[in-house]
Subunit: 188 residues, 2 copies
Amino acid sequence: MSKQSTKTNIIDKADQLFYESGFEHTSFAGIASRVGISRGNFYYHFKSKDEILQAVIDRRLANTQQMLDAWSEEAATPEARIKCFINILIMNRDKIKRYGCPVGSLTNELSKLGHPALAEASSVFTLFKDWLAREFSALGQGREAARLALHLLARSQGIATIASAFDDEDFLYQEAEELNRWLGGYTR
Amino acid sequence: MSKQSTKTNIIDKADQLFYESGFEHTSFAGIASRVGISRGNFYYHFKSKDEILQAVIDRRLANTQQMLDAWSEEAATPEARIKCFINILIMNRDKIKRYGCPVGSLTNELSKLGHPALAEASSVFTLFKDWLAREFSALGQGREAARLALHLLARSQGIATIASAFDDEDFLYQEAEELNRWLGGYTR
DNA sequence: GTCTATATAATGATAGAC
DNA sequence: GTCTATCATTATATAGAC
């Protein structure tokens, strides 16, 4: 493992804590503690909480784009690519059960706070939406591609919310399978 | 409008604020200010923040049960009753766009806080789930009733999350219509 | 770049007068 | 039942030594 800079380390740990504990509930002391630095040092790298939030969102945008690019490369067909998206519900089932979806829970919180970064946080959704729409277009659903993309995004969000509220892993598997069946209706 | 007690008034305003601003972000000062009383007076009625949270959840449970009972009475067929549920996405569209679903956003926050009241907050979902399952049973979906109920609950959650993230009212209407079509597949 | 020390404001919560 | 006054704790944020 390569040694990463303190700044990168802060963004990394803040990202985790925003997901696990929420943005509001995460304090600088908590981040600094997990990084292993003092609170004072923290302010050398980030001047405000909004600044670290922006860095976390930028990091998530970059990571998401990287993941989408990898899916585009690894999976040969549009159907296989969309199944990669559906499969993150299974891949991340443990964290989803505990904390829900990192994107949905952050946008939800920021919308309640009336936080100006809501639009930027929502743009992670937009990355998924546009990528999915492209794949649905490739499936010959050109006219309905954008609607289907947003529909699938919403379905995955609801699954995460309910699985988290009831701590129900079976439901995650069940609904992921149902999504694959639904997708099958557009590939035949 | 009948004059309500200070205690009831506190629960009422706390309920609104937890929805609009989140549980963590809502302070006693904020609640007291909206009620029009002092912070000190607040503590005469509720000794801790967890106590007021419990009261708000109890209130939501009672209100939800009341709403479900009203639907059972007003709508003649199982299909019409389930459509009442779907229709709350349209009825509450303005608030959903701004704050998401009150149940989903609260359970999401409490799960991140590791708050012991998560189970109680989730039981509002359970009221909906059991009520919907009964209606799907009445539709002749006895074996699949529970699964369909949870599925519909998840669908509505996802719709609320995406509509809130993108502030998109058209999406709410579009997906509510899609849910009605989906329901139609079980009534024919 | 990292630390300790500190300033300032807000929070949850209590005590006691009216 | 309602108020003012107060406490202890935590939070964001800054100053300055090393």
